[in-house]
């Protein structure tokens, strides 16, 4: 399977952006009934760094954008259906399914919007994946899913889909603050032979072209994202890994404390945008 091969020549940045933006503003409404906020006022977490926050949807071509307007045409929804079946599938020795406690996926609407969040019981910031694995191992006495396995990513797509339209609202104060600070450090740290930080592309140069790529703000409100280039859902941590690898660095592992911190920080940069997953990107 082809992996993400974002072009590595990060230093060649053609300045084409800016003007392409200013014209008419497309609006995203899913299935004609879920309005999606794709531009929002900059939240406190990016004060001074960005004038406004913009979903990756705005940076894609009209053809790609339209795929997201109708669930029938959104290839990511196929995986949501798989997860829906999984939701009702009994697992583990006690024959427990997700639905044994949560009834329907819709009962979990809103969860995607506030994760990652501080977990009092475990004394750490938890991602939604960790929460699902906690359910699997602690409540259902079965095996955890691999962090970026198909089962897990499909379930993330399902949980995102029932929260679509709700504003991302992760908490960055209180006990989560030190993790958030760690994530922020990572965001601004230059990695790899190319010495690129997340911010070099997604803050300093969003809207510009990186060769053929229209650089976005690197928002994660639309994850998991169905990417046309590899025809599958891509989880947030896989995307982080791809980006860091493209700087020619050794990457952190999906599910590592570094990526959890980075996810919290990047999610907070999108506070105010709508949950949009599973989104369609190129």
């Amino acid at each position: 399977m082809m992996k993400m091969t974002l072009t590595s020549s990060g230093l060649i940045l053609a300045a084409l952006g800016g003007a392409a933006f200013a014209q008419e503003e497309p609006e995203l409404v899913i299935n004609g009934e879920i309005p999606i906020t794709t531009r929002a006022e900059a939240p406190a977490s990016v004060e001074g760094a960005l004038p406004e926050v913009i979903s990756g949807w705005e940076f894609r071509s009209p053809e790609t954008q339209s795929l997201e307007e109708d669930d029938f045409e959104n290839p990511g929804m196929i995986f949501v259906d798989d997860a829906r079946a999984q939701f009702d599938t009994a697992m583990g020795p006690d024959d427990q399914a997700c639905s044994s406690c949560h009834d329907t996926p819709e009962d979990l609407a809103g969860a995607r919007a506030v994760y990652p969040k501080w977990d009092e019981e475990h004394g750490e910031v938890q991602t939604l994946e960790m929460q699902v694995n906690e359910c699997l191992t602690e409540r259902m006495s079965t095996d955890a899913w691999e962090y970026t396995s198909n089962d897990m990513t499909n379930m993330m797509a399902l949980l995102a889909s029932v929260s679509r339209g709700m504003p991302v609202n992760v908490a960055i104060d209180g006990p989560a603050q030190s993790t958030w600070e760690q994530g922020k450090d990572i965001y601004y740290t230059r990695y790899g032979q190319l010495e690129l930080a997340c911010a070099n592309c997604h803050e300093d140069n969003y809207g510009n072209m990186l060769r053929a790529d229209h650089l976005s703000q690197g928002q994660i409100n639309g994850f998991p994202a169905y990417r046309l280039k590899n025809a599958q859902l891509n989880s947030v941590h896989d995307r982080f890994k791809g980006c860091i690898r493209d700087t020619r660095a050794e990457t952190f592992e999906p599910g590592s404390p570094e990526f959890i911190a980075l996810e919290l920080y990047v999610a907070s940069r999108g506070n105010g945008l709508s949950v949009e997953g599973p989104s369609v990107r190129n």
């Binding site: 029938f72 045409e73 290839p75 196929i78 259906d81 798989d82 025809a231």
Partner: protein, 109 residues
Amino acid sequence: MAENVTPRVRVPSKASAGEEITIKTLISHPMESGQRKDKEGNIIPRSIIHRFVTTFNGETVIDVTMEPAISTNPYFEFVAKVPESGTFEFTWFDDDGSEYTESKDVTVG
């Protein structure tokens, strides 16, 4: 053997006589081309949907031969003229011999 194969179809439930309606179909399927190799270097055997047929009241609307270069989850969108009330039948033929079917009624009036 392909797993999790689910056909889905969108057809308007009502139409006026002679109207051309848009039909959208999608089937989730890995469409393994037979060209790829696994980690050990063995060829992953071909497993694709090789034919897709739509009929309306028994009359063929389209009949498509599909080849290995078609990507996963093949999607077809086409228009069909509906002269009268009736039923669209959709059939996908898998390399492994399976047939997946779906049907939709359209009321003219």
